[in-house]
Amino acid sequence: MLSYVIKRIGLAAVITVLAVSALFLIVHMIPGDPVSTMLGPRATPEMRAALEARMGLDKPLIAQIGLFFANMLRGDLGMDVFSNRPVTDIVLNQVPYTLTLILVSISWSAVLGIALGCYSAVNRNSLGDRLTGILSVSVIAVPAFVVALYSLLIFAVKLQWFPAIGAGDAGDWGDQLHHLVLPSLAIGLSWVGYIARLVRASMLEVLGEGHIRTARAFGLPERRIVFGYALRLAILPTVTVIGVGMGFLLSAAVFTEIVFSRPGLGKLVIDSITTRNYPVVMGSVLFSTLIFVASTTLADIINAILDPRIRAGK
């Protein structure tokens, strides 16, 4: 198991370096002069030259990549040219907001999705199964931004149950949780349907397998068969999907953060790309990549824990 984990973490490190290098090149290749964008119409040639030097843009691209990784290993992602603050501080300040939003969204949708999927599989072709199926497909079909806007209009404007903007007061957990409800509903709702359908399909497949029939033949209680044997196997694809889904949720978090005016990594990336604020773009991209790679790696490790065939390389 340990060697599997080490191998997987090593692979994750390689993927991170490759992904960040590729993103570095892409970011620097997109048209748009960061110096003009940042300084605006008041820039003198001297100011432009000074800013270019401060951002390291006067160096060849390959030297800029090398410098980025060298500094990164020292924990230095450079300085934000606008506010003169360390990029690491800026990005680390935003990471918890996005991470919390993603984790809360995926958690509640997984809990509900798995429950609905199990129910549907166990009660196959019942009225409840059919209703669950309709409901699941419906929520998958509704785009997250529609959920966001309607939930704002209904729960924030009309009923005034939940706040429309922000992430809550720092240090006040209740307030922060209160501010999380609508954004996590917006990006988690479609995942409920998706996970429910996935779990149902996997469960039906597993419930038809020989070892389940054997367990039934031995007279084991149905609950133990479903939850102790079937779901344990059926959950594997869901774990993988949730791991990969973190990447999708990262992108969904971008518009959610904009619609709900929440701080977060997505909003930071958009703002910094718009202004070609390269140090902040790269810092944000690095952390986004780390979150994605870490979540897929974690999903692989969980799968390996749940299924010995995976860690045995079978």
Partner: protein, 522 residues
């Protein structure tokens, strides 16, 4: 070959925990979190909105109104803008300020203003430090141009001094002293942190204190208990960072903010179905929007063709469709209320199709196909589509080329640009408008590559002309020259509609931007 020992790890499925968790989550959602909350801001707290996050609380590096909205409340200047519908200024930290001659301005500070965190009373040394550091080349301040020909500040007493200019500079009174570059900081405080700060002020002096900043979320200001001027109206001001105007409108309707700018397309709805207990006010904006034609591009070289385009564009239709009738056609680059504003443009706002067709015929051009470069904002795209239809009426095929922000703002250096729909920001002095269209700026911010010696001379002399009538005439003539070149069709200055609760009394600049220090409770 060995067979791996496959053994299942015993992880009992946490069914009970799972059910407990699901129940708890549902219960939480159904009860605790859904408690109704107060619809309006707590008493004594003003909740408002800014469209971007702050960049710097250092006046040498602050960029634009977002930083200044906060700085104007926490710092003092010698003079501040007056709230209201007319541009003007009032004394702030200065007890007296007078222009002795073209290049000397004497000032005396009030003796009641002090810096927080034990940095003492405000002195003339602080004024000297604040202004001179911005023109210091080693600091590389982005706001150096605001101080124009500042030579130095002479300290003549503990609270008295003289601002010495190299030559006369009229914008000093309208965009230097009452705006970002005019903020006075504590010399001792700045020196204690190495000469410059980022987003956290070291010491402030205004009616509000900088109580906190949550990145990408909000800035909190709190009443300064040591402030001895007109008392601050609110215990606290919370300025939320809401990028999107529609999101801000929802937040306003949800009762979470008390004041915000609204989008132009919401004005009609808010007028016809007003939100109870709120007021919608419309202010003119200083921005200017125009269609530019690149004089250096061979396709635009024919002056008759350019004039035909000027007469073919129907600005009122653009106002109705792209600006929802909430903005007025402009006559130039200088907005109403500022010196040099023209009452009418030379080519008129409404299209003159007959004249445009006649000019087109005179031009001798046939099968003309042009491209207009546009920033990808909805108002711009709609305006470009109308221009496309207008030009089609005189036989010109217009292609619309959309750009996102960063690529659009690079087009100035692109000699191949043919036409462009452009929009520049503005400060309340005409000098700021003409400075981008001088010959020196061709290919930088003068995208039309308009080069006119008379215009350049007018720009230079008008900035030091003390007679307001003569100065205004100079700027009128400068805009005539721009329009006569055929390179410009002026569209609008846009508008700034704002909405606020009747529980507050907003204090706004004539262009609708907030001056929080003067906001009051109703």
């Amino acid at each position: 070959m060995t067979t791996p020992n496959i053994s299942w790890t015993r992880i009992g499925l946490p069914r009970r925990s799972f059910l407990k968790g699901a129940t708890a989550l549902g219960g939480l959602a159904a009860t605790g979190l859904m408690l109704p909350r107060p619809a309006h801001a707590a008493e004594g707290t003003l909740k408002t909105r800014t469209y971007a996050d702050i960049r710097s609380m250092d006046p040498a590096f602050s960029q634009g109104v977002v930083d200044e909205e906060i700085q104007a409340a926490i710092y003092n200047k010698l003079i501040q803008y007056n709230p209201g519908r007319q541009w003007g200024w009032q004394l702030d930290a200065a007890d007296m300020i007078e222009q002795v001659d073209d290049t000397h301005i004497n000032f005396a500070l009030k003796d009641t203003i002090g810096f927080t965190n034990g940095f003492g009373a405000m002195t003339a040394e602080d004024v000297k430090f604040s202004f001179e550091r911005i023109i210091d080349d080693t600091l590389e301040s982005t706001n150096k141009p605001d101080w124009g020909p500042l030579d130095h500040v002479e300290v003549t007493g503990e609270r008295t001094g003289t601002i010495v200019l190299k030559n006369a500079f009229q914008p000093l009174w309208s965009i230097t002293l009452p705006y970002i570059a005019g903020n006075i900081v504590s010399k001792a405080a700045f020196e204690s942190v190495g000469g410059k700060i980022d987003t956290q002020p070291v010491a402030t002096s205004g009616p509000y204190l900088h109580a906190g900043w949550e990145q990408k979320q909000k800035t909190t200001l709190r009443r300064n208990p040591d402030w001895q001027g007109e008392p601050a109206a609110f215990d606290e001001i919370q300025i939320y960072h809401i990028d999107d105007e529609k999101a801000a409108e929802i937040a306003f309707e949800a009762g979470e903010i008390d004041f915000t700018r609204v989008s132009l397309d919401s004005v009609e709805r808010l007028k016809s179905s007003p939100i109870e207990g709120t007021t919608l006010d419309e202010y003119p904006s200083l921005y200017y929007v125009w269609v530019g034609m690149n004089l250096d591009n061979p396709k635009m070289a024919n002056p008759k063709l350019r004039q035909a385009i000027q007469y073919a564009i129907d600005v009122p239709t653009i106002m109705a469709a792209a600006y929802f009738g909430a903005a007025e056609p402009s006559t130039g680059i200088i907005a109403p209320g500022l010196p040099g504003h023209r009452e009418t443009s030379l080519t008129g706002a409404a299209a003159n199709l007959e004249k445009a067709q006649a000019l087109m015929a005179e031009s001798g051009e046939g099968n003309v196909s042009l491209t207009i470069s546009v920033l990808n904002k909805s108002a711009n795209v709609t305006a470009a589509q109308i221009i496309q239809a207008n030009l089609a009426a005189i036989g010109i095929t217009l292609e619309i080329s959309l750009h996102e922000g960063a690529t659009f703002w690079e087009l100035g250096s692109d000699a191949n640009v043919e036409m462009v729909l452009n929009r520049y920001s503005m400060t309340p002095d005409p000098y700021y408008a003409t400075s981008w269209f001088i010959s020196e700026q061709a290919g930088i911010w003068n995208w039309e590559r308009f080069k006119n010696e008379e215009f350049d001379a007018l720009h230079l002399t008008a900035q030091s002309e003390a007679d307001p009538v003569k100065r205004a005439e100079m700027y009128v003539r400068a805009q005539d020259l721009m329009e006569e070149s055929g390179a410009y069709k002026f569209l609008t200055h846009e508008a700034t509609p704002v909405i606020y609760r009747n529980s507050i009394v907003p204090a706004l600049r004539p262009d609708g931007l907030p001056l929080y220090r003067y906001f009051g409770a109703a």
